[in-house]
């Protein structure tokens, strides 16, 4: 029997954003995160959702952020970049495992039902 997690599992959007941050490595900020989720997961998230989710993940301690060097012009602005922290990786892993275990055996059933129909 699986151990009961003390924290609730990640939400769907949180999973997507965390995975995107993981894949983007050092270049993870809002614009490429949104683009990656759209191209790879086929999900269109609003900009606001991305920022709010990133803030929430940071408050939970799953990601950390820092500011890049500003643009080399007058009044140039900095990017806010994100990186996964160990608790974030652990949370991703727990979520994935929970989904896998729940889905065990159902894939065949779904497949067979479709064939019957």
């Amino acid at each position: 029997m699986a151990s009961i997690a003390s924290r609730p599992l990640l939400g769907e959007v949180e999973q997507l954003v965390l995975l995107a941050v993981l894949r983007l490595g050092d270049g993870a900020y809002a614009v490429p995160i949104r683009a990656l989720i759209r191209s790879e997961a086929g999900v269109e998230l609003s900009r606001g959702t991305i920022y709010v989710t990133l803030e929430r993940l940071e408050r939970k301690g799953y990601v950390s952020s820092w500011f890049s060097n500003p643009q080399a012009v007058r009044g140039g602005k900095a990017r806010r970049l994100f990186r996964l922290k160990p608790p974030g990786i652990a949370a991703l892993r727990a979520s994935k495992r929970a989904v896998d275990r729940l889905a065990e055996g159902t894939a065949v059933a779904v497949h067979e039902e479709r064939r019957k129909a």
Binding site: Y29, A30, V31, S46, R47, G48, T49, Y51, V52, E55, R56, F67, Q71, K77, A78, R79, R80
Partner: protein, 861 residues
């Protein structure tokens, strides 16, 4: 690249994100060649989403901060909440009592097309309570622009119910109405049916009960349609129940009145007949002006049919005037409502100003704390918000207490409120009343928290941080003087109102009503109505009842009249009905001893002897004003012996002149003509009994004796004249109590505000005062200086308040009785009271200034 709009929007985003979001959006805009509008829109979407998700946390934390701050200063919070309890409580009460009369549309279909036609005198602009009935008859179907017309009588048409139990008569009030009134109003009864033309043609005595009467007097019984009520002794069948919230479309009628069918209002059509004002529904295309013009030929036809006026008599050529139904029903009360509402608003305003002043003072002593918050990154908006939240908590607390008190003391308030208000008062749970309460709380919080919040947010961080925590920094309290002046000005207005209304009430209570109301009881005795009974038999029956009343133990004397002039009801026209006469005087038919029983004074001549009353002789007694109306400028004793002639009547010899009688302390006495009771057209008698001191008419014994000696009566009841007169002062008493309470609160708040500000100023200037004392300044001079400086804004406020009161006097004048609203003496006393109160409030801080110990102050530095 990033245009100003997007930049402005981005500023609303949280600090940690502003730059990054701007950079991201710019990057996308450049890549995708997006417009500036797109940029601004995206910035807005992101910011709104952010605030929506995380804004609540800051809000809750600000609210908790405000609550903690108030807990630390609980006395301050409780005091401020008490003033708001009064301010908001009063306004909610006023709103709930007046909403229906003032702000809501009338509960009829398309009420904008409903008007009342009245007879108007174009020379004076006056309108009259009655209108020639001929107008109504002639206007039917002949005036363009009128869809339908009917008439509604006054609520003096009183019904007496013998239901639900035959032995316990319940008085219900009915307003007489023509059969088509409900159709004109577009109202359908909830039970039974309305009146029909057929009912009217057959003169069926029918009534429609109001929903309130059905619920309260008949217990909401299903068999209410089988109930029977009696109107002036005549049985009346109940045919239906009006919907809840229905208002009888009559001036000053309470919501709980039902309707009784009376098509006579529109069918009698001789030149002398009077009718009640016409209720008309205009066609959608018609305007009041066009209909008014269309009435001209009818008025002309009426004038042609009139008999020629007596020689030397001025007559006017009347016109028809259309008044919107709402104005007709509540017009006279709306002014009153506005005065009460404005006074209530002023109390709330003074509470707000006072809280603002107190918070301003408190804010200065919390400068250090605020500076720390600003240094840690609190934005201007959050400092401001915390201040408004403090005010909001105080206001909400106050509102809760205030509304709770109103709800608990509902019965007491109903006794105090003017009668008409009580009938139209909404319950406190009504959504509009709740909405108003919330609005009042929010508005007053914003009003009182804004100025202190802005001042707090503008704190000079560095010096405030350098100063020792908890110690006041030097520097004047900016905005304090203005608040004090405002408080004093509002205080003056409220106290002036209190002084004027109280003087008016006292004056009224001393008014001579022209008769002696002590131990005087009006007695109602009704016998079953029989239309076929000869008038002489009926008169004989009522005269025998008078003898029974006179023979009762405890009754010293008794008399009767067709209508009692003391009950506010009107008798017959003074001049026998010739044109214009009914608007000027009243004729009363009385029995012997009437003047003695009433305690009226005989000014000249004598009153009726028993032989003159039975049978009625051609003699008359005039009241003082009646004599002045007929023979202006002639002394009462010279009037005696003259002969009064009315067209078509036997001449009357005037045998005496008596004092004028008022039906209430505030009512102007009607010019009156008293004649002996006549058999012609006799309907009934109303009795008045003089009882032994402190005694009362034994009603049950009277009923028994009437049953044995005369006939089975329909109704026997006795009232207390003195109590009725005093109840008539209810409106005046209400206004006096209201303004006195408001005035006291205004005065107390002004004093509290001044005390707080003056104490603060002295505290801030302790060092300066110490130095000046050590340099040889006299303590007395210092005290005087503090007093002078504190009183300066108060004097300014008092002057402003006096000017505003003088301007507003014209609105208050209507409600005052024999008191000039611009009486200089009153204003002088009010100003002196305000200044004296302010001086007392500033006295303690001034004394403290004088008793500053230089050694202590200087050592503390």
């Amino acid at each position: 690249m990033m245009r100003w709009l997007a930049r402005a929007v981005i500023r609303l985003a949280p600090r940690g994100w502003r730059e990054a979001v701007a950079r991201d959006l710019e990057e996308e805009a450049t890549g995708g060649r997006r417009s500036d509008g797109w940029l601004a829109w995206q910035a807005l979407c992101v910011t709104v989403r952010w605030r929506w998700t995380f804004g609540g946390e800051a809000l809750v934390s600000d609210l908790r901060y405000a609550a903690r701050a108030l807990l630390c200063a609980h006395w301050f919070a409780l005091g401020a909440a008490a003033t708001f309890a009064l301010g908001i409580g009063v306004n909610v009460a006023v709103f709930s009592a007046t909403d229906r009369m003032t702000f809501r549309p009338l509960p009829y279909a398309d009420p904008g097309r409903l008007f009342i036609v009245q007879e108007a005198n174009p020379d004076t602009g006056e309108t009259y309570g009655r209108l020639p009935a001929l107008w109504a008859v002639l206007a039917r179907g002949r005036v363009a622009g009128i869809e339908d017309l009917g008439s509604v009588g006054y609520f003096t048409a009183v019904g007496y119910a013998l239901a639900p139990e035959p032995d316990a008569p319940v008085v219900i009030k009915l307003v007489s109405a023509t059969h088509n009134v409900l159709q004109i109003l577009g109202v359908t009864p909830v039970r039974g049916r309305g009146f029909t033309e057929d009912d009217a043609r057959q003169h069926r005595p029918l009534a429609l009960l109001s929903y309130e009467q059905w619920q309260q007097d008949f217990g909401g019984r299903d068999d209410v349609l089988e109930a029977r009520v009696y109107r002036n002794g005549q049985p009346v069948d109940v045919v239906g129940v009006l919907p809840q919230g229905f208002m009888p479309p009559a001036a000053g009628a309470a919501q709980s009145y039902g309707l009784s069918l009376d098509d006579n209002l529109m069918q009698t059509a001789t030149v002398r007949d009077g009718s009640y004002p016409l209720l008309v529904r205009l066609t959608p295309a018609a305007t009041p002006q066009s209909v008014q013009a269309a009435f001209a030929p009818i008025v002309g036809e009426y004038e042609r049919r009139l008999p020629p006026p007596p020689p030397g008599r001025n007559i006017f050529h009347p016109t028809a005037r259309l008044t919107p139904l709402g104005d007709f029903m509540f017009g006279p009360f709306r002014n009153y409502v506005w005065v009460v509402a404005i006074a209530g608003g002023l109390v709330l305003l003074v509470a707000c100003v006072n809280l603002a002043g107190l918070m301003l003072v408190r804010g200065r002593s919390r400068e250090h704390e605020t500076a720390v918050r600003v240094a840690l990154g609190a934005s201007t908006a959050r400092i401001l918000r915390a201040a408004v939240f403090e005010a909001l908590i105080v206001a909400a607390l106050g509102a809760g207490v205030g509304i709770g008190v109103i709800a608990a003391s509902n019965r007491a308030l109903r006794v105090l409120l003017p009668t008409l208000f009580v009938s139209y008062t909404e319950p406190l749970t009504d959504p509009r009343v709740v909405g108003f309460a919330l609005l009042a709380v929010t508005a007053s919080a914003a009003l009182s928290g804004a100025l202190p919040g802005v001042r707090l947010a503008r704190v000079d961080v560095l010096p405030a941080l350098q100063a020792v925590a908890g110690r006041l920094r030097a520097g004047r309290l900016r905005g304090g003087a203005a608040l004090l002046a405002a408080e004093a000005a509002i205080g003056v207005i409220l106290v002036t109102g209190a002084a004027l209304t109280s003087r008016s009430l006292i004056g009224l209570m001393r008014t001579d009503v022209g008769f002696n109301p002590v131990d005087l009881q009006p007695v109602t005795i009704l016998f079953p109505w029989d239309a076929h009974q000869p008038e002489a038999t009926r008169l004989h029956q009522y005269r025998r009842a008078l003898e029974v009343l006179r023979g009762l133990p405890g009754v010293e004397a008794a008399a009767a009249a067709d209508v009692l002039p003391i009950e506010g009801a009107r008798g017959n026209p003074f001049g026998g009905g010739y044109r214009g006469g009914y608007q000027q005087g009243q004729r009363w038919q009385v029995t012997d001893q009437f003047f003695r029983v009433m305690g009226m004074r005989v000014l000249a001549g004598r009153t009726f002897t028993t032989s003159e009353v039975q049978p009625a002789a051609d003699v008359a007694v005039l009241s003082q004003r009646g004599a002045a109306l007929v023979w202006p400028g002639i002394r009462p004793r010279d009037v005696v012996g003259r002969v009064l002639t009315f067209p078509g009547e036997t001449p009357l010899e005037v045998i005496g002149v008596v004092s004028d009688v008022r039906s209430s302390y505030a009512a102007a006495p009607d010019p009156s003509l008293y004649v002996p009771v006549r058999t012609d057209g006799f309907k009934r008698l109303m009795y008045v009994a003089r009882v032994q001191p402190g005694g009362a008419v034994p009603v049950s014994r009277l009923r028994d004796r009437l049953r044995q000696q005369v006939a089975e009566p329909t109704l026997v009841a006795a009232g207390d004249e003195l109590a009725r007169l005093r109840a008539g002062l209810r409106d005046q008493r209400f206004r006096a109590v209201l303004f006195s309470t408001f005035g006291m609160v205004g005065l107390a708040l002004a004093a509290v505000g001044l005390y707080a500000v003056a104490s603060f100023e002295v505290g801030v200037r302790r060092q300066e005062l110490g130095v000046r004392l050590s340099l040889g300044a006299r303590p007395r001079d210092l005290a005087r200086q503090v007093l002078r400086e504190s009183l300066k804004p108060v004097l300014l406020g008092v002057a402003t308040g006096l000017l505003v009161s003088l301007w507003a006097a014209r609105f208050l004048q209507v409600f005052l009785y024999q008191v000039d609203a611009r009486d200089p003496g009153t204003y002088l006393i009010v100003a002196a009271t305000l200044v004296a109160t302010a001086a007392v409030a500033a006295w303690r801080p001034a004394r403290r200034a004088a008793h500053t110990d230089p050694a202590v102050v200087l050592r503390a530095q």
